[in-house]
Symmetry: C2
């Protein structure tokens, strides 16, 4: 579970208890808490716990109306005279009352919030995706809670379950792991769930994916069409679905062209800049040096661009994922672009359709990718 590492214990028991202290006031004598004598409900002081926030009861007392009447005003329900409404509103403003949605949620059973578990919010690919999900959520009156799994399956599970404990109405998950059976009780309990970017593992659930295989195949075929035969591939661990699919696309394109792939052309499971750099340099200088490289994701692409900028001979490059400013580099970077915002939007819309009830059967949707030629992928083979 999530664990505090400092002295702030959000749910702890050691918090100095200003929240629990009953403040003794004017003509009230409930300050004593030793004797639990049956406390009449209605003659409590307007002050209460919860950081001293006024409640509907306080508002009601001040406005001289019943509790439910306040609730009606707050929620804009009909059946309140303008005069009464005015009095209530006045009390609300005077006390600075704000409805406690936690209590509301408990009562109503829906939280009007959805959870998003992604890999890293700081990654330029996930920012727009997250924003797209947020926009859809907003259009449906829901808030978005999100968390980064840092590509760690345990952390993904921990996060997803923490969100379920908050009783989010739905979950959008970019999986890090490949076994999601831990979500079965949640699905059964009616938590709407959509997986994005990578499919769910071992459970039947909605997935919205990019056409990783086709995109990679097109990208590599593009290089082949420009005369390359020794083409390198640098990608993430094949454990990750997208990485595996893109690798498969690479292999498919090579096979279609009848080109046997040498092991030294492929580097799998490297993402940190240092190792990507080494991998790229090795395949450029090895016994059978590549004339072109296909990179499996944006981070790899950026590092490889740096390596290629240092080379004397021109090496062609096609990258998966678009990157900002790719058009301004020399040469411009040819990429297989997937639309992150569209992925997020599609997923979120399906999520709310699940909640609507208009969507029942889980589906697997693949969004097309787009090859954007800018120069680096059109270089002729040299060396």
């Amino acid at each position: 579970m999530l664990d505090a590492t400092s002295s702030y214990k959000p749910m702890g028991r050691r918090i100095p208890t200003p929240l629990n202290r009953r403040i003794p006031v004017d003509d009230d004598r409930t300050g004593h808490r030793i004797v639990p004598e049956t406390i009449r409900r209605s003659d409590r002081a307007p002050e209460n716990r919860y950081g001293n926030r006024p409640t509907m009861k306080d508002v009601a007392a001040r406005a001289g109306v019943g509790l439910k009447t306040v609730s009606r005003v707050v929620n804009g329900e009909p059946g309140v005279t303008p005069e009464t409404e005015r009095r209530v509103q006045e009390a609300i403003d005077a006390l600075g009352f704000r409805r406690n949605d936690s209590a509301r949620v408990l009562r109503k059973g829906r939280t009007a919030s959805i959870g998003l578990v992604l890999e890293d919010l700081a990654d330029p690919f996930y920012g727009p995706l997250s924003r797209a999900v947020e926009e859809v959520a907003r259009a449906h009156g829901a808030l978005l809670i999100n968390g980064s799994s840092a590509e760690d399956p345990d952390r993904e599970q921990e996060l997803a379950l923490a969100l379920c404990a908050r009783r989010v109405d739905g979950l959008v998950i970019i999986p890090a792991g490949d076994d999601h059976r831990y979500l079965e009780p949640e699905l059964k309990a009616g938590v709407a769930t959509v997986f994005v970017d990578r499919p769910a593992g071992k459970i039947d659930a909605d997935c919205v994916l990019a056409d990783n295989h086709g995109g990679a195949r097109d990208g590599v075929a593009h290089l082949i069409a420009h005369g390359h035969r020794r083409i390198g591939f640098i990608g993430d661990m094949p454990r990750i679905h997208t990485a595996a699919e893109r690798l498969r696309g690479y292999r498919a394109a090579m096979e279609d062209a009848g080109i046997p792939v040498e092991d030294s052309w492929m580097s799998l499971g490297v993402t940190d800049p240092e190792r990507v750099r080494r991998a790229a340099e090795e395949m450029l200088t090895g016994p059978s040096p590549v004339t072109a490289i296909f990179t499996g994701n944006n981070r790899v692409t950026v590092t490889v661009i740096r390596v290629l900028a240092e080379q004397t001979r021109p090496v062609a490059l096609v990258g998966f994922d678009d990157i900002e400013l790719a058009d301004l580099l020399q040469p411009g970077v040819t990429v297989v672009a997937q639309d992150a915002a569209s992925l997020g939007r599609t997923a979120a819309e399906r999520l709310f359709r699940q909640l609507d009830g208009t969507l029942v059967t889980p589906e697997r949707i693949e969004l097309p990718t787009r090859l954007i030629t800018r120069g680096s992928g059109e270089l002729a083979p040299r060396g």
Copy 2:
């Protein structure tokens, strides 16, 4: 308030009520709901509402123990025999029970979640900031709820207050507006609050800012040091604090150098690419054409880079905010960099120190910026 635009009404009243239906089962006769005869609490069926999720009561019934014992096991409190614990754990697993944190929150008064209101999650500047806040929150066992204001003060307020209604323990706000008195009741109620990137308006609160004024002044001074005298400035609306400060820094540097600024060199309040492009082109071709441009934020910088790439004469450029791949462009882009992650981390840490109680008096913290020279800012004046 947040309003649904589709048929999914998270909190609405028209939801078909599977959640409220009491399911009649085996030997239970509480299916009738007409007669409200005093229902004995303990002989309800194990089924209940809330999407049919098991509750502690259900677990207790199945394990043959009391409600509180289940609570103890779930929360790892002491005082439960191993044998009892085993039985409870078994029931938990069998039923797929997951504690309802909404109810917990209601009872305990703390939600172990914090809110982040920023401008646009898709902006590469805010991604890392958000991630940094999340990491700190995670270290403190809290979840992060975030929302984008889209630079709209009303939307900022709507979001912040929605988060307060959820009773987040604290708020990190990147303000869009300049009047935050609406937060006064919340602050008084003990919601920890830190403003980042831009200061709070009309209330006394913690702020973590970058040294916008000093950074801009240094950047412009750098251009002046390289011989430029006709220097353009393109920035956001001065209504936005950061934009105003950077403009002030620009003016200060010019004044320090004794250079009078011409109106045609300044373009304020433009951010969309079209207008930035026009603004840049105008100051490059006007009666007193600039030889260098200082750009007020990353989005403007990117657009101006494109414009400059089309020019025949070299024009110097220094931009506020670092941008990815800036080093690989020709020439490399000289920037005044601020550390987004550090801003977020500092803010979040202060937030939790407020919650700790170790931090009381609001402060205004300015983090230094860093001039990174890469070429574009060192071009000599031409034209």
